[in-house]
Assembly symmetry: C2
């Protein structure tokens, strides 16, 4: 890479017309709605039209428990797609849409980087085709209709208890000041005062619902099932978006947002970019509909799942695949030298600060000392009957002995391993990984869900906690127990589980490294995303509205003399 920046690489790339990219997937022009240069929405009719084409091998990209910097799942997904194409296989990739808040906050863009980027990166990192904003609009329209019912006292028709409203508002911005507010202040005509707040749009149940819908009708039905609060009295019942007559409008606001966006990588690999549900409290996976289209778009569909394998991949298997009906053929576990060194417990990695010199020094022993995390995440893939492939996402300051250590750990676990230099070298740098993934995906498939939805909510939670996280058991607060009982009574006992746990540890304590043992998972609270279709136990403090740092990315973004965007990447 030397002095070449991601932005320079992006500017130097030659994009194909998006119609040609679609053609590589077998998508005719009648299925495309172009949205500016290099971007098109895909009509959902594509799902049926492509159904007779061969089914691609389905590969999910997950990771070891990451450092706060992230280990490069998105660049690996992009690089692997390019690598498969370079080695003669036709691949399509599927990733999430980045969220504007973090992009303008601390994180920077979510379009990959170096020679593994999705382009046009500026569009991708900003509004793209407006899907995020459509989610914001649909979510807040429901909120306005709730407070309008409170204002007009028509809540009495519904028996909705204003003190039991759980639906908040959302904005795609990092703005801690909106976390907790009192609204409805002012005069008699300005609403009824009550406490509420804003989450970031990615954390909206509407986003999770959009990502888990199979069709426009399915979306309509799910939105109607969204629970916004509860009735008054000793035996409260749920009140839904349907009860408020809001689900139809929400569907209409989302009808274009339900269509996946087609872009391309730096090397012209088709890239589906669709939905961005928050990883902390929702699935952290891109959309079902994007994968239902992509699965017939080539020889391989490479899809990314957020966070480590205990989080994103577990939800991919048990939530997303359960909805889509698709069966994964292989799972990539992105691993870095720095992550395993961190898991040794001997080094600390802090977001926004340079890596410590001791961590960068050659030391394969530290890599071995952090291997428990990799081994446990390998187990977490194999638990679902899927073949893992360890991908070493290589950094310039890695040492060969450290890569050798990771290869050795993988080999002892009986798992394929490849070094990938896709960031520096693009698809050519991911050729070894592409071959390993192709071999793994060719093996007989034994995929199965971790749990049946027919077992009760407690059993489902305990299965994930003990088998995936390595906990000895689960401790429920009184509040959590009450919620689980209530949800069971409401008939939601058959929903799957989306655990809201820190992604920075296999345990619920973000400071614990490696593969912690001898601990129990505390469930403080349990919430229901009935529209999206899951129950989510809260294990620890989950932040659903980020704040800006002391020197946010936004303060450095501008246009230059020629009108070009600078500072975004």
């Amino acid at each position: 890479m030397t002095a070449t920046t991601s932005l320079q690489i992006a500017r130097a790339a030659t994009l194909k017309p998006i119609e040609d990219v679609a053609d590589m997937m077998g998508l005719g022009r009648h299925l495309l709605d172009p949205y500016g240069t290099g971007v098109a929405k895909i009509d959902l009719a594509a799902i049926d039209e492509l159904a007779d084409r061969p089914t691609a091998k389905y590969v999910v990209v997950s990771a070891v428990t990451p450092t706060p910097l992230g280990e490069g799942k998105t660049t690996t997904t992009i690089g692997l797609g390019q690598g498969l194409n370079r080695t003669g296989r036709r691949a399509v990739i599927a990733i999430r849409q980045p969220s504007l808040g973090p992009t303008l906050g601390i994180k920077g863009g979510g379009a990959g980087g170096g020679r593994s980027q999705v382009l046009p990166m500026e569009r991708l990192n900003l509004h793209l085709t407006g899907d995020m904003h459509a989610v914001t609009a649909a979510h807040n329209q429901l909120a306005a209709m709730i407070d309008n019912a409170v204002f007009r006292a028509t809540t009495s028709d519904l028996d909705l208890d204003p003190a039991a409203i759980t639906w908040r508002r959302v904005l795609d911005v990092d703005d801690r000041s909106l976390r907790n507010i009192v609204l409805g202040l002012g005069g008699r005509g300005d609403g009824v005062p009550r406490q509420s707040g804003f989450d970031i749009t990615a954390a909206s149940e509407v986003m999770a619902t959009l990502a888990l819908s199979r069709s426009l009708r399915d979306l309509r039905d799910r939105l109607g099932r969204i629970v916004v609060g509860y009735t008054r009295g000793p035996r409260p019942r749920p009140v839904t978006a349907e009860d408020l007559h809001a689900a139809g409008t929400m569907t209409v606001l989302l009808r274009d947002a339900l269509k996946p966006n087609l872009l391309q990588t730096h090397e012209n690999t088709p890239a589906l970019v669709h939905c961005g549900p928050f990883g902390n409290i929702a699935t952290g996976n891109s959309s079902v509909v994007a994968d239902l289209i992509g699965i017939h778009g080539g020889d391989f569909l490479v899809t990314e799942a957020g966070f480590g394998a205990d989080m994103g991949a577990e939800r991919f298997f048990n939530l997303k695949c359960r909805v889509s009906g698709l069966t994964p053929d292989a799972a990539v576990l992105v691993t870095t030298v720095r992550a395993l060194k961190m898991h040794s417990g001997r080094h600390k990695v802090v977001a926004g600060r340079p890596l410590p010199a001791e961590l960068l020094a050659e030391n394969p022993d530290d890599v071995y000392a952090g291997a428990d995390n990799l081994r446990k995440q390998i187990d977490n893939i194999e638990l679902h009957g899927v073949t893992p492939v360890v991908a070493i996402n290589a950094f310039g300051d890695d040492h060969a002995s450290e890569h050798a250590a990771i290869r050795d750990i993988a080999s002892r676990a009986g798992v394929r391993c490849a070094v990938s230099t896709h960031f520096t070298d693009g698809g050519a740098g991911a050729a070894e990984l592409a071959d390993a993934v192709a071999e793994a995906a060719a093996e007989p498939n034994d995929f199965g869900y971790l749990y049946s939805t027919e077992v009760d909510l407690w059993k489902k939670i305990e299965t994930i906690a003990t088998r995936v996280y390595g906990a000895d058991g689960v401790d429920y607060s009184a509040d959590a127990t009450k919620s689980l009982q209530r949800y069971t009574r409401f008939g939601w006992g058959g929903l799957p589980i989306c655990m809201a746990k820190t992604h920075l540890s296999l345990s619920s304590d973000p400071t614990l490294r490696g593969a912690p043992i001898g601990w129990r998972l505390p469930v403080r609270e349990v919430r229901a995303s009935v529209g999206a279709g899951f129950i989510y136990p809260i294990c620890g403090q989950m932040q659903t509205m980020p704040g800006l740092g002391s020197d946010p990315a936004a303060a450095h973004i501008d246009i230059d003399e020629g009108g070009n965007t600078v500072g975004l990447f």
Copy 2:
């Protein structure tokens, strides 16, 4: 119209490919970014590329003081464009983008209706190309950066007084509960509590700024000048978006939103749809850049100005034309039988209720009794040296004698008049109006601004109040006087004025009909939109965040069995 609905007409229309529509304006494909079927954004390079083509006649569409139902300015703008085309002239129209809040609230869509519609109406009425959402994002990013400065106490670097922050937040929704809030509640990490609130996105200064910018660079500079609050101490100074390092990011968030959107009417007339600044507190006019492109796109550019001629047209002449440098050749004054009958003071028109039977009964005397309003609005056009044309927007329950009365009133005022049945008949119904407008626009032009920006703020306000509104003078509150003194000291005395007055009367009292005399204009408060580039005196209560009604439009919008949108129109 009989039983044919606007929606049926829209569905039956044959849209041309948007590239062909652009071609009618001389816009090559290299200047277009298609955004879904039937919609494209136009690159601002078009302003220079088209500059050598002939300049169109520039026609602004305004109205008498409207009833709360509106008198059909948008349908007349569309119908006139179609009528000009039908009568052998090449026309382009320019309208504002409807706001999602009112569309889902009480108002219904803003895409015209009947046989004078802009299509695709569903796209137009919902997200279109996301410009509204981009304004929301840019506005709220600045808000987040302000509260981040408060939280981090870096306001001390700027000396920003947290109690003197004037920048609120915005959302494109009707939500009275957000008008007045306390934010920053919660724990120590959740910001600093203070009072604030949300306006609807159309009321954002960012929207007004976008509409009044001539180029990306101009937008960047204006955004930097936005004042968000004031410093501490006895002689406060303004603090700007530039001081907060937010203007660059805001520009980048708005770079696509600055490009006008091209759609077409039901009869394939090119339609520029761009920006939607609130009429109450901002210009209520579509964008300068749309008109700078449209002015070279045919023989006529028909552009709409919100509210009556005292409001939208006055701002069009003195704010928008001052920025664009364009010179209007004629002004259409949309007039209805019902509006003049209301101005007689003998009838009441209430939004959301059917017109009273007495108003609908044949009665030309009532029309004559309301003529003062029409005469005064004719004066308001002629004050600026522009030739008015009275357009009678015909309704099915009008009587010929009533149309004759309006023709007579116009004739006595020496002004052309035409009946237009564009709603029922499309462009064919606007042929008489098209001929009258063409004649008026062919007359020698004597356009001039109402006031020089060099006179002081008091003098500018008084000129508008006395000459346009017919007031005897202006009464300033102590607060208003103090603000005007302060703004003059800050060097803003040279800015033009955007009066925030009710649109339901020529006076500041919304209940006064006709052309009230013997009254003085009370200025309660004066605010500054330094980025957009105007000072706005507040005369009366201005609502900047609508609320939902008891039976909002949103409750009736849905998808049908076939997945089509229903209930939106």
